[in-house]
């Protein structure tokens, strides 16, 4: 089975630590990279400096995206992804946020979010979320093909 990877865009360090710990408990089934703001996320997905090297900064299978981010917000990142004329526009994006407001939920779906998850209050609930996320996306879902990844001469 292929190894899927998740790009986590989360600015809050304590939320990040909790999420990372919850996902790490699940073992090595998939990789997770982390960025802390919307501009970084767009630079990473574009393969702009300092992320040109796809060997070191591989295109993720999907995005796990907070909404309240410094610089460009999660909504702006989502909008940017769906606006791309390349295959990148297919990138599955799951929103993970503390907002349960229906305005935010509906806006995220209107902009093309694949799913909307609310950060739970306790660590054990977050672990449950991580394992359900893994069980669904990493074990069951078929991912689209994204932008051609530049391959080295060695393959």
């Amino acid at each position: 089975m292929q190894n899927e990877s998740v790009l986590l865009v989360e600015d809050d360090p304590s939320d990040f630590r909790l999420i990372q710990r919850a996902f790490n408990k699940l073992g090595e089934r998939f990789e997770m990279f982390r960025l802390t703001n919307g501009d970084e996320a767009i630079a990473y997905l574009s393969g702009d400096d300092p992320y040109e090297n796809r060997g070191a900064h591989p295109m993720p299978s999907m995005l796990l995206l907070d909404l309240k981010l410094p610089r460009r917000s999660g909504f702006e990142v989502l909008e940017w992804v769906r606006r791309q004329s390349s295959a990148l526009s297919r990138l599955p994006v799951v929103v993970l946020t503390s907002s349960r407001h229906s305005v935010d939920i509906n806006r995220a779906y209107d902009l093309g979010a694949n799913s909307y998850l609310v950060k739970p209050a306790t660590n054990s609930q977050l672990e449950d979320l991580a394992s359900q996320f893994r069980n669904y996306w990493m074990s069951l879902n078929e991912f689209p093909s994204l932008a051609e990844q530049p391959r080295g001469m060695n393959d």
């Binding site: 599955p92 939920i105 509906n106 779906y109 694949n114 998850l117 669904y136 078929e142």
Partner: protein, 155 residues
């Protein structure tokens, strides 16, 4: 707010053996949500639009999630996805494609038309049962569905 966990699941599937497998799996997973099962693509369009025999939104509520086969009598799954995209709030409803077609071209096309997720039907009943359980855990218990007004939409 109504209890989101008891919202309707719309199952669109025309193969009787698959329907029987899925229905049994829903029962085994003790899914309490009402499951509306439709077999014909044109019927799905009428259901979602609240037209004809489905005008009563209380009796025929908009679903929290749609499990959509691609090969159907009447409108195809792809045509349903395409139609949903240009609707108002109906386009927010999460659609999980559930099909036997594993070709990357079909997978990409489904995401391009706004599918939220793409699953390939497993071969044996035990796997179907596990898949249904995971779908329910993720899309009913974990995911925040869009907030939809219970009314029929004008074309």
């Amino acid at each position: 707010m109504t209890d989101a966990t008891l919202r309707t699941i719309l199952l669109v599937e025309d193969e009787p053996t698959d329907v029987a497998l899925m229905t049994r799996a829903f029962e085994k997973a003790r899914v309490m949500n009402p499951v509306v099962h439709l077999v014909d693509g044109d019927e799905v369009l009428r259901y979602l639009a609240g037209k004809g025999e489905y005008a009563d939104r209380v009796k025929y509520p908009l679903p929290a999630v749609i499990l959509l086969d691609l090969k159907l009598p009447g409108a195809t799954g792809m045509q349903i996805l395409q139609w949903m995209r240009v609707q108002g709030e109906i386009r927010r409803i999460p659609v999980v494609v559930l099909t036997s077609d594993e070709s990357p071209k079909t997978i990409d096309a489904a995401y391009d038309l706004g599918a939220n997720s793409y699953l390939v039907k497993p071969g044996n009943p035990a796997e179907v049962s596990r898949m249904v359980q995971t779908i329910q855990q993720y899309w009913i218990k974990l995911n925040e569905p869009p907030q939809l007004v219970m009314r029929a939409e004008a074309e």
